[in-house]
Amino acid sequence: MAEYLERYRSIVGDAEIDHLKQLARRLRGIRAVHVNSTREGGGVAEILHCLIPLKRALGLEATWEVIEGNPVFFDCTKKMHNALQGNLTAIPAAMLKEYEETNRRNFERLEDVLKEADIVFIHDPQPAPLLQFCENRKGKWIWRCHIDVSRPYRPVWKYLRAFVSPYDASIWSLSSFAQTLPHPLYLIPPSIDPLSEKNIDLDPPELEEAREKWGLDPDRPVITQVSRFDRFKDPLGVIEAYRLAKEFTPLQLVLAGSSASDDPEGAEVLEEVRAARGEDPDIHTLLLPSDAHRSINALQRLSHIVLQKSLREGFGLTVTEAMWKEKPVLGGDTGGIRIQVFNHHTGFLVNTPEGAALRIRYLLRHRDRLREMGMKAKEFVRENFLITRHLREYLTLMIAVTHAATDRIELDG
């Protein structure tokens, strides 16, 4: 298991790896359980796929449980997700009843694991009510919110708040997302794994094979947005930006996404995108399986510019992935994209399809700037948004919640 961690040494350096080992020594043998609602698809699952083995490699007993639910449950949690991001979405009482019942059933299935854990991390709203069923709990419970809850639809937040208030702490990606709760609100941005299939270096022949497979012309620039087919990701705005830019420069657009098992709205949005594409052969809409990580990796690497023109965004890991591949990013001026994309340094923040089109034209006209910004973007990710930094903050938090809640925790010896 120790080798698993050592693989990161050449990427992040000796000091970072040794630092992690030092911190983890204080947590050896601790039982940490993570609970979310899907094993595949979406940023949370991807983070857990690498975070869990890394914690194990450091001597923690880390496990990952996934709650199970029927379509009504997932429809409810999707509505909840949208409402928390600001949509005025009322949720019928029957759906909320199913939400709570599903959590009760899952708690019965996971009871032993949850009761025995030293630290339980509950990810997002789907499994949030689990805590209320856990009487005589032994460990600390932490709610990890990956969503931008800065301006939620209040009735839905009020409903959810009752479930998350009793937690011992919560984790938010940005300070602007954090809602006031009666416990410490930790701030931890998410991260990417540079060694995952999604981010690992690919050989040129593999890239050429992928280019051929997707029918991309090697002689014309490619712009890409990789994300779920979700209205908050504004895929229609991306098509508009592409059309505006294409009047001035030859261009191909790739809109690639996978469907996650907890996202029933995806098919509807994909249909809207296909309708907007019309007969344009240079718009490639790709619905990829949720485990098509290598294909996504290749698409990002084949792109000249990556877009993430979200209207609301939790953090935007696709931005981080693209930056790691030395691509400047045109990102919506929202949420976590703002702490990754810096105008003229790592990409541009855009507010409209017109703004995105303008920056596409600028970067394709100034290829030296495009390359320079891409390189800067990669170094920025190396220092700030790799899984090792994320892991360090998780370990720090675990130490903090298991010690007295003071500003200063001294662990000598």
């Binding site: 630092h19 030092q22 911190l23 800065s150 602007s176 925790i409 010896g413």
Partner: protein
């Protein structure tokens, strides 16, 4: 053993306070009431968190004044506040308030920002641990400083100023215990200005000073 330098390491974790400001008057009011840890975080926390290099505005208050409320005059006045000039965080808080009050006096209407550009007050929790490394002779630093984690640099060079009654760093404080043997080194280390830099550069600067002193 008795006079060894114990290398410690630290890691910071940020905690949102839920307090925010949407205009300059609110910022002033919040600064009055936030815990000292917030003042510390917004002056020094940038060294240990994701932040694109913006040396023009080395503290979060100045950066917000420039980028959110677009008040260049205020941003410049806030940026020049050097936290090392103040004996404690309360004095630093008073200076901060003084600069903001002065600007409020000059303005008829304090500028507002949109809701998603508010200033969010954050504090941090620090976890400090012993690395098990002991340095017995100052000469050893020349070989070892490069392998110090950035957390160690932060702890011994920045955090030290909060712990030490004289507000100095741990390195020069230790060199000083050798009965005047390292006076030049003490002076050189204390001449480093850690405010307009990052921890990588600080580590390099320390290494250069140590190499210069011991290897000529």
């Amino acid at each position: 053993m008795e006079n060894s330098f114990i290398v410690r390491d630290c890691t910071l974790i940020a905690i949102a306070t839920g307090l925010r400001a949407q205009n300059l008057r609110e910022l002033r009011n919040r600064i009055r009431e936030v815990p000292e840890a917030c003042i510390y975080y917004h002056f020094w926390g940038g060294l240990l968190r994701a932040k694109f290099d913006d040396p023009e505005f080395p503290n979060d208050f100045a950066s917000w004044a420039r980028h959110a409320i677009h008040d260049k005059r205020l941003a410049e006045r806030l940026a020049i506040i050097n936290p090392m000039d103040f004996e404690n965080l309360e004095d630093l808080r008073r200076e901060l308030l003084e600069v903001i009050e002065e600007r409020l006096d000059e303005l008829d209407l304090p500028p507002w920002v949109e809701a998603d550009q508010q200033f969010y007050f954050v504090r941090s929790q620090i976890v400090v641990f012993n690395t098990g490394i002991l340095i017995r002779d100052p000469r050893e630093f020349t070989d070892r400083i490069s392998s110090f984690s950035l957390g160690s640099i932060f702890y011994h060079f920045i955090d030290a100023r909060r712990r030490h009654p004289m507000g100095i760093d741990d390195f020069s404080a230790w060199f000083e215990t050798f009965d005047g043997q390292y006076e030049d080194l003490v002076r050189a280390v204390r001449s480093i200005d850690p405010y307009f830099t990052n921890l990588f550069e600080l580590r390099n600067e320390l290494k250069a000073i140590l190499d210069g002193h011991f290897r000529g």
